[in-house]
Amino acid sequence: MTNHWIDIRNSDCILIMGSNAAENHPISFKYVTEAQRNGAKVINVDPRFTRTSSRADIYTSLRSGTDIAFLGGMIKYILDNKLYNKDYVANYTNAGFIVGEDFKFKDGLFSGYDAKNRKYDKSKWAFDMDAKGVPKMDISLNNSRCVFQLLENHFSRYNTRLVSSITGTPEADLVEVYKTYAATGARGKAGTIMYAMGWTQHTVGVQNIRTMAIIQLLLGNMGVAGGGVNALRGESNVQGSTDHCLLWHIWPGYLKTPRASNVSLDAYNKKWTPKSNDPLSANWWQNYPKYSVSLLKSFFGEKANKANDFGYDLLPKVDDGTDYSWLTLFDKMYKDALKGFFAWGQNPACSGANSNKTRKAMAKLDWMVNVNLFDNETGSFWKGPGMKPSTIKTEVFMLPACVSVEKEGSITNSGRWMQWRYQGPKPLGNSLSDGNIIMELGNKIKEVYKEGGVFPEPILNLKWDYMTDGLYDPHKAAKEINGYFLKDVTVKDKSFKKGTLVPSFAYLQADGSTSSANWLYCNSYTEKGNMAARRSKEDAPNNIGLYPEFAWCWPVNRRIIYNRASVDLKGQPWDKKDWVIRFAGDVKDGKYVSKKWIGDVPDGGWYPLENPDGTKRNDAKYPFIMRKHGHGQIFGPGRADGPFPEHYEPLESPLGNNLMSKQRMNPAAPVYTTDADSVASNSPKFPVVGTTYRVSEHWQSGLMTRPQPWLLELQPQVFVEMSEELAKEKSIKNGERVKVASARGSLECTAIVTRRFKPFKIAGKIVHEVGLPLHFGWRWPESGAEESANLLTPSTGDPNTRIPESKAFMVNVFKL
């Protein structure tokens, strides 16, 4: 979230789309309800009428996988009716940037497409630069090659008639949603989006969110209270684990995983440190080497020095152009290319797309270590449905982990708040915390490598001192994450002693004098103490629910990021009532003469862009400080699948062609081709759109909720929800067991026949959609009859993230 949970209450209009907040993030509804009581409108767009819809002021449906068409229509509506915040768009976004002549868009393809490799040459999308190397800009937004004009042209095709025939949403509903949400473009009004996996799990996942980000920039909703782009995380610590490099392509703090072509630390830092020649751009990532070197110092301690590139050569590099994501890992495993696998705190046999492929892939392993609270479908895959245990060689080790409340440590919630938790009960039996398991594992591996082995240096040189009295010490780990001064140093006229904690990332250095295991978290555990353990209930002076001394928030306790976009060019808030920050420096002769911001921690403490008398300042910075050029990106030339979002059909679609262009599916989306990757698009065998989701009563693959009798009582069986019309066609009665099948697998479920699903009218024909919860698996309940909905889902995903396309695929429903 760019904002945070409490901040939802400051919104004037809440769009819940791509998430089912009431059911899957019930606590968020405390704040949604509060906003609604204060007069905010709640809009819910979902293929199915949910418990969220029941509480919305406006509900409408769309076919799964058509969100870009829906939102693209909103962009057109905002532009046609001039509902954008002109000052914000012109000055804070790249709307005025001039795009080079190489950029083109035709028949659904952007320029630079390489069909053989399903890849774009992104250099074709570059901005035109002036002699100083600064992007050429026309902030009047009139230049025909400026981003604003290209945007208008790109989305001119997204008229409500065409959008409606793609999404199945009635045109009148489209206009009502567009009108209501676009009203937040007025100054002082804020609109927010609450989205989750309903947007991300698509072949166009990233571009779904890009489309909304464009809307938020046009309406001036980024950086303001009650605004932002807000991802509702599906687990309490998903944000934290992502920040600390859960994913293959990033190091802690969103540094890049080194590529094979980054042959030295210098080459690595050069490659990934952006350069800006614009004196008004803060280009915060120019500090990249300070963060990467501090990370290496944290990995290898005294063994990292300038002479050995701080241990850079000891770390693995990924091959250029190769992908190591979840889908690819299981594809490789299926092809017998992996020998061992740690399934740590996860249940891929049920949670991964195309579960049949995933389960078969596990049988190719020599060994698997399953670290979890209970045995699950993954650890026991070898005795699951369709498996012959005698033919499976995989040796499975189960390491029992304790549950979160049995250990001390932090979680980082969706709103980026790092919150410290004390230990409740002691771990049961011989279960251990993850920290203890990994510390012991590391110690053991070090022991073995001491006896010899290939390339032992990375293991032997690894700093591994996070234990106290033989047990993992979360305080030592948290301090390591924050970082230390490693010698007596003076930075910015302040002196620091060796061994003390670094007060914030502004003091990290690239010369090896500081360590930090995650620069974003530098400031979380300082000489003043553990900031995450704070519990003050006092609000900040602007009284918008920031609670600055309750827990701690990255970066540097800034509760709303991009907050310098919440003020006008003179540093005064667009919204006078719910303001986030305001400039309060002294004024002399119409000029600011001293620097002072009040409210939230500002996104950099520079002067505003203009003085009170309207003169420009040359010591100011643009508000989007993490972007190379300092501007919010309406044009996003860094994405794998295009600088503007474009509607494409999912891998599996009810349509033979895309009504928007000649490109049926995302031309850059990955396609996997094993015999377990059958696809059936526009096929009479699978004419019904399928989707998956969660319910309040269960969690994730159900590992923690299915064995819980009180929760199983509430939702005892996997079900498929369908319209009365589809049920009638198939002679299916409410509550009877039916079979749902896709090209990849099938499962039996209980039919819920409901008015909450309605047939769609798509391209003139009736299209049905059904949905299943993803929480079940054969291991529990003991009947073994309740299986995973991921038996149906395909192995394809977003070209930027490779998140699987679990939210839109094709199925059929059969009466048993």
């Binding site: 509804f29 309040s696 005892p716």
Partner: protein, 239 residues
């Protein structure tokens, strides 16, 4: 005796069932073996081991689909027909401090069927041996300064609990606000019960026992005539 009351604002309920689970947890009640019957409502009904149940109903009002949620429980009546019918304070009595209507293990020794039929809200449920059970207002928690478990767990403010006067003020104030958007909104039997629901649609769309039929409370008010009117009570409760 002003005592305590609940205010249940169904216009804020999103049917997370947190109240339902919190109730089982606090009372350490076993889960029932259930199946999916084509609805999110589970278990199907209240029982000897289920005191709190969120009822789900899909309905179309003025051309718009509504999914109505009703977090059902004992109303802790001001003049409880069950208490009157039982005529045995060892089996059914009221806590004078809170107004909670409480069933004891001795309830197996009274005419269970008659008590069940006396309830205008169809709440009490019997074990095989005839012992009766239902919501006890978490009276043990309340007497120790805590909120009932269901109220404590509610994330949206749909479930509220406090001194009766305070709850009545809250309910009437909220009704005035809700009425602006939902003109059909009303409070259900606010003068007769300690569990006051606010609904936005016809109460019968939520649950056939959402409101008591008028005769039920006429009866309970005429305590003196109770014995005489018993057959009639049975008749109305069965509606």
């Amino acid at each position: 005796m002003p005592g305590k009351s609940f205010f249940i604002d169904t216009s804020l309920c999103m049917a997370c069932k947190g109240c339902q689970v919190a109730c089982k947890q606090w009372h350490d009640l076993p889960a029932e073996k259930t199946v999916n019957r084509g609805t999110y409502q589970n278990p199907a009904d209240l029982s000897f081991v289920t005191y709190k149940l969120v009822r789900f109903n899909e309905t179309v009002v003025d051309g718009k689909l509504k999914w109505l949620f009703f977090s059902d429980q004992c109303r802790h009546c001001m003049e409880p027909p069950c208490e009157v019918t039982a005529e045995d304070p060892k089996a059914i009595f009221r806590d004078p401090a809170t107004g909670a209507v409480l069933f004891t293990a001795d309830s197996k020794d009274i005419d269970t069927q008659e008590v069940i039929e006396a309830c205008p809200y169809n709440i009490p449920r019997a074990a095989r041996d005839g012992t009766l059970a239902k919501c006890d207002m978490c009276n043990d928690r309340v007497r120790n300064g805590l909120l009932p478990a269901c109220v404590k767990t509610c994330p949206t403010g749909a479930m509220n609990f406090g001194d009766r006067d305070e709850m009545l003020v809250m309910a009437r104030k909220r009704l005035a606000t809700v009425k602006k958007i939902h003109p059909k909104a009303k409070l259900l039997d606010p003068d007769d019960v300690r569990v006051i629901y606010l609904v936005t649609e016809d109460p019968m769309l939520y649950h056939s026992f959402a409101v008591a039929s008028n005769s039920a409370f006429d009866i309970s008010r005429k305590v003196a005539l109770n014995k005489l009117l018993k057959p009639l009570t049975r008749l109305t409760a069965g509606l």
